[in-house]
Amino acid sequence: MAETTGTAGTEFVFSPEQQDLRRAVRQFCDERVDEPTVRRLMESDAGYDPALWARLGGELGVLGLAVPEELGGAGGGLVDQAVVAEEFGAALVPGPVLGTVALAVPALVALGGDEVLPSLVEGTRTGALAVPDHGGRFDPALVSVTESGGALTGEATQVVDGAADVLLVAARAGRDLGFYVVQGGERRSLSTLDRTRRQATVRFSATPARLVASGADAERAITAALRVGGALLAAEQVGGAKRLLDLTVAYAGTRLQFGRPIGSFQAVKHRCADMLVLVEHARSTAYHAAWALQDGTDDPDLAVSIAQATCSEAYQRVAADTVQLHGGIGFTWEHSAHLYLKRAVTDAALLGSAAAHRERIAELVLDTAVASGTLVVATG
């Protein structure tokens, strides 16, 4: 992921290619993934449209932007993929964005590639990561699936996009950790709060599995995937929050009560200003994480935790405020607000809560702080 698209690039400055990419994805979403489409897919069994997904991978080619060309990807950087994640988040693109694009693909890239990777990038197959995490970090102690004789047994709960064609599964082979590619397993789909982001519980009973890494290699790939996943999830959160801010500002500027636009009341205006600050902070931290992972310019764990701690809180707050500032209409099923509210709550709970990431930040920043002794406390 050290390569970048176009200009080697100052952090936060999007290259013309990246700006084109954003425009192209936004236009595709406007035309092909408008809200009626999202609502139709959200009510469907699969929860997404495989043909549409294949177009995103094939025609548009935006499902593996940070995958090196020799592994079947676009050979770009993570920032490119973050731009796409933001636009997907703004449109609430249904489908295995988190499972495939943000987790499975990065895991396989970290492994140096795999035979299933090109199909995931092309969108002809979907993937998901069936790995237990503790506050967004991989914890081998939580792995309960076991391997024996090339087959897996056990259960993985609440796997995001767990109905995918290909599962990347952490399992225990004796005392060793193994990382496996699995196509089988019994998938029980769950009724999720956010019907545009599906989950399943996966049960393996002597399900055939192909080992792709073990021990430290497996752990490294999983950790890399969770980091990239956290950064891309943050970008998605930015996209959703920004869309809600735009929606709310437009409503506040046109909705009249007491003979004037409600946005002319400070109670409304100032809440919009606070939403703006949240969105701007979210954007800064999410793209910092993407740039830091791409260019190696910051501690990756710290950068991702800053982004996740900030974006999870920002998106949830902005979504709640969006309902509030729309009044009754914002509480109806017909209005867009709840679709984003449910996504915001879901994103905040996945890959580590804000509190879990703050704890990680505390470990990295506070536990290493040393008293330099110059700050004076008055003692009377």
Binding site: D194, Q257, G259, R260, G328, T332, V345
Partner: protein, 393 residues
């Protein structure tokens, strides 16, 4: 015999002659009405005994102690808001006609105030009422109408004179929900349920005898309804740790695996805020009963709404990844009371409306600032203008 003893005796007689565990709800509540125990402060013959409102608690304790249903839960708008409004502003004949079936829950009531274009700015509503002979002909759309699909009557606020400033052109009616031209549609909310309705009024006719208060005086009548709504909220029963906070404490007890010191402090803070508000409600009740009402009552709605949201946000945080699951979004009518609030995730979603329904938190802060603290009003764009000249949208 003093008033207190009168109430006590009447209540004891009712439960002796009508065992609430064996007679039907309607029969029992009819007996209560006839005994003057529906609203003890109402006049005799209209469901009351003409005694102090404070004595209602004594009657309710005896009745409910014997297993009586709470009529407020069965017909909340009828019992809490329609009855005092009909009594205060309706003709004696109308009160006699409407109050008993209301009290027995034979007639469920609903309230037709809010409109798509009139939320916080209720007085800006557009539903028109035009006099045609002895009837009013009503056209418009109402929204957020709980119980409309089950209601026999609706409290309707409509515009009878668009040339007047907005507060002065309103008239208040009792609408027969079964009249031609009244169409009720369920309004699905973000929980997936349809707790509310939209009501479309197309040339619906209301006899002038079902008008409450004078023509053009509807806003003052509506104030009676709304003040009773607010006091119904502020006057709810007051048990430490009850309400939304009980859910959070229970979830805390159920999920030792999810506890952290930070969440512990957060929950203690929420519990303390709930308790501070409960004590404030209690204080408001006490000072009201001694004739010196303080500012405490109006605070209840604001605080409890925001507290509910914070409590269920806490619950979702406590749940962690499980918070991302949901039961059933299929559109359902809410019938069974026990099912009403649903699982935690549903309660979380439902709580988002708490700061909107019954007065947004923004409007309530204005009320606290202006009516309690006496701060000056907002500058007004619509002051003194004829309603029809005020921009809407």
């Amino acid at each position: 015999m003093d008033d207190s003893a009168r109430v006590e005796k009447a209540a004891q007689q009712v439960v002796e002659t009508h065992d609430p565990r064996s007679v039907s709800t309607r029969e029992f509540l009819g007996a209560c009405f006839d005994a003057g125990l529906a609203w003890v402060h109402f006049p005799e013959g209209l469901g009351g005994l003409g005694v102090s409102r404070g004595l209602q608690a004594k009657a309710d304790a005896i009745l409910q102690g014997a297993g009586a249903p709470n009529p407020f839960f069965l017909n909340p708008i009828g019992h809490g808001m329609a009855a005092p409004t009909v009594l205060e502003h309706g003709s004696p004949e109308l009160a006699r006609e409407l109050l008993r079936p209301l009290a027995t829950t034979e007639h469920i009531w609903c309230q037709l105030f809010s409109e798509p274009g009139a939320g916080s700015d209720l007085a800006g509503l557009a539903t028109s009422a035009v006099l045609d002979g002895d009837d009013w002909v009503v056209n418009g759309q109402k929204v957020w109408t709980s119980l409309a699909h089950r209601a026999r009557y609706g409290l309707l606020l409509a515009r009878s004179d668009p040339d007047q400033p907005k507060h002065r052109g309103l008239t208040y009616f009792v609408l027969d929900m079964r009249a031609p031209g009244v169409e009720t549609r369920p309004l699905r909310q973000i929980t997936g349920q349809a707790e509310f309705n939209e009501v479309y009024l197309n040339d619906a006719r209301i006899p002038d005898t079902h008008r409450l208060g004078a023509v053009g005086n509807g806003w003052r009548v509506a104030m009676t309804t709304l003040m009773n709504e607010r006091s119904a909220i502020g006057g709810s029963s007051s048990v430490r740790g009850a309400g939304a906070i009980a859910d959070a404490v229970q979830l805390w007890a159920q999920r030792p695996d999810r506890r952290t010191p930070v969440l512990r402090d957060k929950l203690a803070a929420l519990w303390t805020r709930a308790e501070a508000q409960r004590l404030t409600d209690e204080r408001a009740r006490r000072s009201a009963s001694t004739g010196s009402p303080g500012p405490e009552g109006s605070i209840a709605k604001l605080v409890s709404a925001e507290l509910n949201q914070d409590v269920y946000e806490f619950c979702m945080e406590l749940l962690g990844p499980e918070a991302t699951l949901y039961g059933d979004y299929s559109l359902r009518d809410i019938q069974r009371h026990e099912d009403y609030r649903g699982p935690v995730q549903q309660r979380f979603l439902r709580s988002r409306a708490n700061t909107i329904e019954g007065g947004t938190s923004e409007v309530l802060r204005n009320i606290l600032g202006e009516r309690i603290l006496g701060l000056p009003g907002d500058l007004r764009a619509d002051a003194g203008k004829a309603w029809k000249e005020i921009p809407r949208g």
